[in-house]
């Protein structure tokens, strides 16, 4: 049972609690931030999530709410989710997110250019975004659901890592299929091979579609088996998810009390 509880707590600490809706408002973001800091007060000894993930316009609100908590604020940028904007607009988008205080930027690659074979364009874009980010963590969303084949997923992963992405990330959550275990395995293999070539540890973030504690544990096993325990930290692995948190909390409460509680007892984010 110990290893299960360890895994559940680790998974909680790796969550990027996310809201990316057209209807997001400061009120919604404030509520989510409070939840991120107080996952389930009835159960002591819980970690907090790794970050909240919002649109750039919500960064300032989130930063204020999370002050002193140690929780990062991640902003999606570069014409998220489609990436269909001119280069200058994307640069402005990133700069704005950073100026608002984002600790992390989740960018999308230009799938149109990628699928058209313009790999240099995609590479240069990532490299330039990273140079603007500096110490701000850059996560590169490949939107694997639009890439079509695992060969392309692997190729795009290699490209994003070589261009300087701190993390590679599967999906925006706006396209189906989002994260799958197969795609995640292929991307983890790219991270592993990059580490073996360069000695640099880069991160990985599956996002979208991970809803249950059981799935989260399966992902963690995949990480452990592919990359080893050095990657079992929120610095190198994240879950992009909105509903996963409460399912994990439900399992943790069950492990501690022996019975399942209804979802009514777990506050919504």
């Amino acid at each position: 049972m110990d290893s299960k509880v360890q895994a559940l707590k680790l998974a909680l600490s790796m969550i990027d609690q996310t809201t990316l809706e057209g209807s997001d408002s400061p009120g919604k973001v404030k509520q989510m931030c409070y939840k991120a800091m107080h996952l389930h007060d009835a159960l002591p000894g819980l970690p907090h999530v790794a970050a909240v993930c919002v649109y750039p316009t919500m960064v300032r609100t989130a930063k204020e709410e999370l002050k002193g908590s140690g929780i990062h604020v991640a902003a999606v940028a570069t014409a998220f989710p489609s990436g269909q904007a001119d280069h200058e607009t994307k640069l402005l988008d990133i700069k704005y997110a950073i100026s608002e205080g984002a600790d992390e930027v989740d960018m999308v690659i230009s799938r149109g250019h990628y699928l058209n074979g313009e790999f240099n364009y995609v590479y240069d874009e990532i490299a330039e975004f990273k140079s603007i980010c500096g110490d701000v963590h850059l996560k590169v969303i490949l939107e694997t659901g639009e890439l079509g084949t695992l060969d392309r997923v692997r190729h795009a992963s290699d490209l994003a890592l070589a261009a300087g992405g701190d993390f590679i990330k599967t999906s925006t959550g706006k396209v189906q299929p989002a994260a799958t275990q197969t795609v995640t395995l292929v991307m983890l293999e790219a991270v592993r091979d990059f580490y073996q070539r360069t000695g640099q540890r880069r991160g990985m973030k599956p996002a979208g579609g991970i809803k249950t504690a059981k799935q989260a544990i399966q992902y963690l096993v995949t990480v452990n088996e592919t990359l080893g325990s050095a990657w079992l930290t929120p610095d190198l692995f994240r879950f992009g998810a909105s509903t996963l948190t409460n399912d994990i909390l439900m399992q943790l409460v069950k492990e501690s009390t022996g019975v399942y509680q209804s979802s009514d007892y777990f506050s919504q984010a």
Binding site: A7, P47, A50, G70, D135, N224, T233, D235
Partner: protein
């Protein structure tokens, strides 16, 4: 956790908790011989312990059949053949076989635990491979029982009579299914001898056959050692011998049967080449190599025990292979996390150790996974030999253990030549991204089963069997009916 990007969180050292399968395997303390629908004590009264190779503890006492018991079993089988089974319609026979298949499915977890306890293989494999495939085999051949007119249009397929079947210890229940299912479907009766180290699931199958209400004598199961097997092979009233096991015994059987009317099928050893071309998906191929050689501790006649890697990717493949081998979980076979279980017997462990010793003596370079092995029981580390030459003993002899020999090649032609340069010809594997190359290469390899971009895939609808010293005859599929019938 992390307050700034500079501050790092220490990674978790995560050990999986043990997850032992706990279903009761329902083993008796003592097993008699299953003859004529009943469990009867052996004529000479000998029993021997059947052990758990992972713990060296006794699981049950099992009767040891001798020549008089074989004779009783053959008489029962003959009577059942003449009076009942050969006269029954295929449709009715099929109902019995379907019943065996369903009962096996219903009790699959119980059989899986028994198989793992007695044979040492991981519960992951017995649960996901052995038992489901055994049930699938019964289902498949049950379907053929009333379709002989479609299988052999314009001909009449007559059963042969009494079949003597001798099976190995690597897939005890699955091999029993491979032998019994097609024999019954075609109207034959059976005297089957399970291997001396692993008789328990076959005897549980005998109980299940009783439950299925099969007419007495149609299936007789008599455990014993080599003398029992020899008595079956030499019995004058047996019409067909089906044997799966070592090439040495297979050759002996061929000599014994020369000049008799008995038909035979032999499924013997192998030394399969698993060929990795440089355009293969390497990570996928590495998983395939692991599955090819470490499946069932390498106790697999069709194991991919000779790895042929194209030189351009050899260093990468070997490095990745070592890294993957280091993560294999070796230990308690009942733990659902376990990848590699116990070696089947002390005797087999000795054989593996002796052959591995010749590898180092002849100059091959040995590397072993750094796993911890349990103190009791029979264990062998996943082992890799590089710098192997075609003439090394480890490259020519079947080791039948978790030991992989790696050779390199430069061109397609060289790969084919090396793959075929063996006394065996049971199976093979090819890994490449090019469909055309798959067809070109596989057509030139002299082996009964060749997998492309996968390995060790089994299905009852697919024929299985060898070229050269790997045996003769096919089991599985439509082809598997042929060795059990005479066509008129």
């Amino acid at each position: 956790m992390s307050t700034t990007t500079a501050e790092k969180t220490a990674p978790l050292q995560w050990n999986y908790a043990p997850a032992p399968e706990s279903v009761d395997p329902k083993l008796r303390k003592r097993y008699d011989l299953f003859i004529d629908g009943k469990f009867v004590p052996p004529v000479e009264g000998n029993y021997r312990p059947s052990i758990n190779p992972a713990r060296e503890t006794t699981l049950a006492e099992v009767a040891d059949a001798t020549a008089p018991d074989v004779d009783k079993a053959v008489k029962a089988a003959r009577k059942a053949y003449t009076k009942v089974w050969s006269k029954m319609s295929g449709k009715e026979r099929g109902k019995y076989i379907f019943r065996i298949a369903r009962l096996l499915q219903e009790r699959s977890r119980e059989f899986a635990v028994a198989e793992t306890l007695n044979g040492g293989k991981s519960i992951r494999e017995s649960r996901d491979t052995d038992i489901p495939l055994a049930a699938a085999h019964f289902f498949y051949y049950a379907g053929w029982a009333d379709k002989h007119d479609y299988a052999f249009p314009g001909r009449r397929a007559k059963p042969l009579g009494v079949c003597g079947q001798v099976i190995p210890w690597n897939f005890p229940l699955l091999m029993a299914a491979w032998k019994i299912a097609p024999a019954l479907a075609t109207g034959n009766t059976v005297v089957l001898k399970p291997a001396d180290t692993t008789p328990l699931t076959a005897l549980k199958l005998a109980e299940l056959i009783q439950d299925a209400g099969l007419p007495p004598g149609v299936v007789n199961i008599i455990p014993g050692g080599r003398p029992t097997g020899a008595a079956i092979v030499q019995h004058p009233d047996i019409d067909k011998i089906a044997f799966t096991g070592s090439t040495a015994v297979g050759k002996w059987i061929q000599k014994e049967l020369a000049g008799t009317k008995k038909k035979y099928t032999l499924e013997l050893g192998g030394k399969a080449a698993n060929i990795i071309f440089e355009d293969a998906a390497i990570d996928q191929a590495v998983e395939g190599i692991i599955n090819a050689i470490f499946f069932n501790q390498g106790h697999v006649c069709c194991a991919g025990s000779r790895l042929l890697v194209q030189e351009g990717v050899a260093d990468t493949v070997i490095a990745k292979l070592k890294e993957r081998m280091a993560t294999l979980i070796v230990g308690d076979p009942l733990d659902k996390n376990t990848d590699i279980g116990a070696i089947n017997s002390r005797e087999q462990l000795g054989r593996i150790e002796a052959l591995v010793a010749t590898g180092s003596e002849e100059g091959a370079e040995m590397w072993q996974a750094p796993c911890e092995l349990p103190a009791k029981g029979f264990w062998f580390r996943p082992t890799l030999f590089t710098n192997v030459s075609q003439s090394h003993k480890i490259c020519r002899d079947e080791i039948f253990g978790p030991v992989l020999s790696v050779l390199t090649f430069r061109t397609e032609d060289e790969a084919v030549e090396k793959a075929n340069n063996t006394a065996y010809g049971l199976s093979g594997g090819v890994w490449t991204d090019k469909g055309a190359k798959i067809f070109k290469v596989t057509r030139q390899i002299r082996a009964g089963v060749i997998w492309a971009n996968t390995f060790n895939k089994f299905d009852p609808t697919s024929p299985f069997g060898g070229y050269k010293e790997s045996g003769s005859g096919r089991e599985g599929g439509w082809h598997g009916l042929m060795p059990y019938v005479e066509l008129e």
